[in-house]
């Protein structure tokens, strides 16, 4: 067989290192945040401007990789000349804007939002949100004792909402959904940040198995016609779990260990490695407790996965764990 000469010889190196086309640099926008001048590139948001100044801004529904959905209203700031507070995650910076992030109005608004969330949602596995509640002095207990959990949230239709009695705090509580072996859905812990819907939709997975159903306080994340996951379009990539900020979506392994009281993050070690399946090269962060993989995530700030994995990468490690005898623990 005739093999061309280049088969034996490495091609010459390019004279220049290949680079993507140079993009025009964006003009800078100058604005004032808390009395100080900030410059950000055109197209940046007020949240970017706050970060540029090192101002710690609470967010719930914001995800750096996704288009802002503007639903939580925790990141609001005061914009001079605007009638209402504006969501910093989506409002674009404009020249000459004057923004305040620590006015009483901003603080009260953030506190109210956090209070409403904490009074209606179980935040026990959302330490960051609980810390924000404390920071802003939220007192969810002032809305009264918690109302009993509902069993009919999945079937509530718009316009059929019953007025609450007013003497107890309405809650989104409902039984945990365990309908498959890989992950659970505990919507008592759901703050409706929409990130799971975005992850399942066109921001990442493009499977569209879930959406927000219902209106007002009855709004909830649902599969089509509220069918179980095995009957839905779900492909078990678990990218919704990866972005859930409250633990409403959780590996079944984590849920089980928590129920047994043996989940212990202080005994867990996280190690980044590369998935052993196909040739894409996804970074897996293995969360290991007692020499057992208890959860798999992926870094959101690395370009190959942007935090996303497929069913094999996220869940397909059981056979490694179960081979041979019980794994021997290091001495």
């Amino acid at each position: 067989m005739n093999e061309p000469e280049m088969w034996y010889k490495a091609p010459p190196r390019p004279t220049l290192i290949p680079l993507p086309p140079v993009r025009a640099t964006k003009p800078q926008v100058e604005l004032t945040v808390d009395g100080q001048t900030v410059r950000v590139p055109e197209g940046a948001t007020l949240l970017d401007a706050c970060m540029e100044r090192g101002i710690d801004t609470p967010t719930v529904c914001f995800h750096p990789n996704y288009t802002p959905v503007n639903v939580c209203r925790v990141c609001v700031v005061e914009l001079e000349g605007a009638r209402t507070l504006v969501p910093s995650c989506s409002r674009l910076a404009e020249p000459g804007m004057v923004v305040k992030t620590d006015s009483p109005r901003v603080k009260t608004s953030r506190k109210m939002v956090l209070e409403f969330l904490a009074s209606s949602v179980d935040l026990s596995t959302a330490p960051e949100l609980l810390a924000r509640c404390q920071e802003y002095g939220a007192r969810p207990e002032r809305y009264g004792p918690p109302a009993p959990p509902a069993t009919d949230r999945d079937s509530r239709a718009a316009g059929h909402h019953h007025e609450p009695a007013g003497n107890e705090a309405q809650r989104v509580a409902q039984p945990v959904k365990i309908d498959n072996g890989l992950y659970i859905r505990d919507y008592s812990k759901c703050v409706l940040c929409y990130k799971c819907v975005q992850a399942c939709g066109d921001e990442a997975q493009n499977t569209f198995a879930i959406a927000v159903a219902g209106r007002g306080f009855d709004a909830r994340i649902s599969t089509e016609n509220a069918v179980s996951l095995p009957d839905s379009a779900c492909v078990y990539c678990g990218n919704c779990i990866g972005v859930c900020p409250t633990g409403a979506l959780m590996f079944k392994s984590e849920h089980t260990l928590r129920a047994q009281g043996t989940w212990d993050e202080t005994r867990q070690k996280q190690t980044d490695t590369i998935c052993g399946y196909c040739g894409v090269g996804c970074t897996l962060t293995l969360h290991v407790q007692d020499n057992t993989i208890v959860k798999v995530t992926s870094p959101a700030d690395q370009d190959i996965t942007r935090g996303n994995l497929c069913v094999k990468g996220r869940f397909g490690h059981e056979s490694i764990q179960n081979r041979g005898d019980e794994p021997e623990l290091p001495a």
Binding site: T15, L182, C237, I274, G281, D303, R306, S319, D325, E326
Partner: protein, 535 residues
């Protein structure tokens, strides 16, 4: 050097994507995220596949060709581009040779002739040719639908010809990208696990290159290429090869024509299998060396489909007596009289860096900090190449021009006959992997076991219903499997996977015809018949 020419990021910015013989939605799901970003940004996606897969559903146009007619379609695209004057004459003159021969060779592949041979409507071929040639940037991606044929190398050449014809290579967001099926199949080749290569694609038959390694290793290296897997199987057949060390492979189940493979493995004098699991291949072995899992129980590197070398790290202690592959090989060397010292992954890597120019700049420190580096990376200041072959656009041309490869259509080795009238093709599903050794253990809600997928028309003609167990017969053997009706198949086409071989042994059916150059078997095409089981 062989590897995908572009980075994943570039497919998000390209104008036209040809996804050829690849169901990346299920087999490379996270790459498909990047591809879908491209589609959302306005790229036109053409899917060339016998099956209407879950990837195809995202395409603007589906070219549902008959199995094994890829060259017909590719050559027809090439002919149409030339006939319409859409080819990039300036690039052809500047950077290629053999255009006249190529033009002559594709002349018979008119749109009408291509439609007759491949089943793809002529307007669809015309449309794809126009979109691909006229785009400012365009990327071709392929997987095993191109390579798992008796003429897989020719199939790849046919696609490369299209890139040369239009200048869609060597530029940002334009190129040719084979998606790698295993996490280190790219790295294995890069490290010299090829019959004719030393690490870094350095040809063993080039004296100067071989001598460099001989000097570093203080030993002599056989000066001619070795066998590929197919040749090894042949050599087992004629007793030239009598002892075998198998590392992390399950050939008994992964090779085509299972009965034949089993006979060859059993005829060996000595078989050693080094694996995570006691696979069916390992069960035949004289000695089994239990290994640690490369991706989570040991330190090292792997290389992905965008040529990125990435670190794997130890997160778990391996069970029982399982040990790092490197430690086992070092011990083996010592037992054979060569003391390589203590095994250390970084030390081995640094030795590689000293011998392979394309890896020279990749220190462990940099791999850590920069989340991997793409080869070639010639020194520690080099960022790695985002896309390959930019030299082809330099004025004057830097290095030799690239030759068009004339390729002829050659249908699958096994013809359809009245006795075996159906075409069986094979592939993977989303939640399982190859022979199922690794994925079998997890509780996938998507798993439905092996089936013989048929289109509703064929099932109706045979009087079969969904879920009914049937006998599937090929010239090599017969197995039982349940029928699954699939709207993604056209009449005459059947589909199976390899995932559940302990229950349904698909490779009893497949043919061991292989491409003489790549050694890859024609898993994508054999002939079968489906028999209703008597009640």
């Amino acid at each position: 050097m062989g590897g995908g020419t572009n980075s994943y990021q570039e497919i998000e910015e390209t104008e036209v994507i040809l996804l050829w013989g690849s169901n990346a939605r299920e087999t490379h799901p996270i790459f498909f995220h990047h591809l879908l970003k491209g589609v959302h940004h306005g790229a036109r996606l053409f899917a060339i596949d016998p099956r209407r897969t879950s990837s195809v559903r995202w395409a603007d146009t589906w070219l549902g060709l008959d199995v094994g007619t890829d060259i017909v379609v590719a050559n027809a695209v090439g002919r149409e581009i030339i006939a319409q004057g859409w080819h990039n004459q300036a690039f052809i003159d500047h950077a290629t040779t053999g255009f006249a021969e190529y033009r002559h060779s594709v002349e018979p592949f008119t749109l009408a002739e291509a439609e007759r041979l491949s089943g793809v409507p002529a307007p669809a071929i015309h449309q794809m040719a126009k979109a691909y040639a006229k785009a400012k940037t365009a990327i071709i991606c392929w997987t095993l639908g191109i390579t798992e044929h008796h003429n897989g190398v020719d199939n790849v050449s046919a696609l490369i010809n299209l890139a040369l014809l239009t200048g869609h290579v060597g530029r940002h967001a334009s190129g040719l990208n084979p998606l790698r099926g295993q996490n280190n199949v790219q790295g294995g080749g890069d490290m010299g696990a090829l019959p004719d290569r030393l690490p870094g694609f350095q040809h063993v038959e080039v004296d100067a290159l071989r001598q460099k390694f001989e000097q570093a290793w203080g030993t002599t290296i056989p000066p001619t290429r070795g066998w590929n897997l197919t040749q090894m199987l042949e050599a087992m057949g004629n007793r030239q090869l009598t002892a075998l060390l198998v590392l992390g492979e399950n050939p008994l189940q992964s090779e085509s024509d299972r009965h034949h493979t089993e006979h060859l493995l059993r005829s060996l004098d000595f078989l050693v299998v080094q694996d995570l699991f006691l696979t069916p291949t390992a069960e035949l072995a004289d000695v089994v060396l239990p290994a640690a899992a490369g991706w989570c129980e040991s330190e090292g590197t792997v290389t992905n489909s965008e040529r990125r070398v990435q670190r794997v790290r130890k997160a778990l202690e391996p069970p029982g007596e399982a040990r790092d592959d490197g430690e086992i090989l070092f011990d083996l060397a010592r037992a054979l009289g060569h003391d390589w010292g203590e095994f250390n992954a970084e030390k081995v890597w640094n030795e590689l860096r000293a011998l392979s120019p394309v890896h020279a700049g990749m220190t462990y420190d940099r791999l850590e900090k920069e989340h991997g580096l793409q080869w070639p990376c010639f020194d520690e200041a080099h960022p790695g190449e985002m896309f390959l072959h930019s030299r082809l656009w330099e004025q004057p041309l830097n290095g030799p021009p690239v030759a068009f490869q004339v390729v002829a259509h050659s249908p699958p080795v096994e013809n359809l006959t009245t006795e075996f009238p159906l075409r069986l093709t094979t592939g993977r599903r989303l939640d399982d992997y190859n022979t199922g050794v690794q994925t079998g253990g997890f509780d996938s809600p998507l798993r439905r076991g092996e089936t013989i997928d048929l289109c509703p028309e064929d099932a109706l003609a045979l009087g079969l219903t969904d879920g009914e167990w049937v006998r599937v017969v090929s010239p090599r053997g017969a197995i039982d499997a349940p029928v699954r009706l699939s709207n993604g198949l056209r009449p005459g086409l059947a589909f199976m996977t390899f995932h559940f071989q302990d229950s349904v042994n698909t490779n009893i059916l497949t043919i061991d015809a292989t491409d003489p150059r790549s050694g890859t078997a024609e898993f994508k095409a054999c002939s079968i018949r489906v028999e209703k089981k008597s009640l």
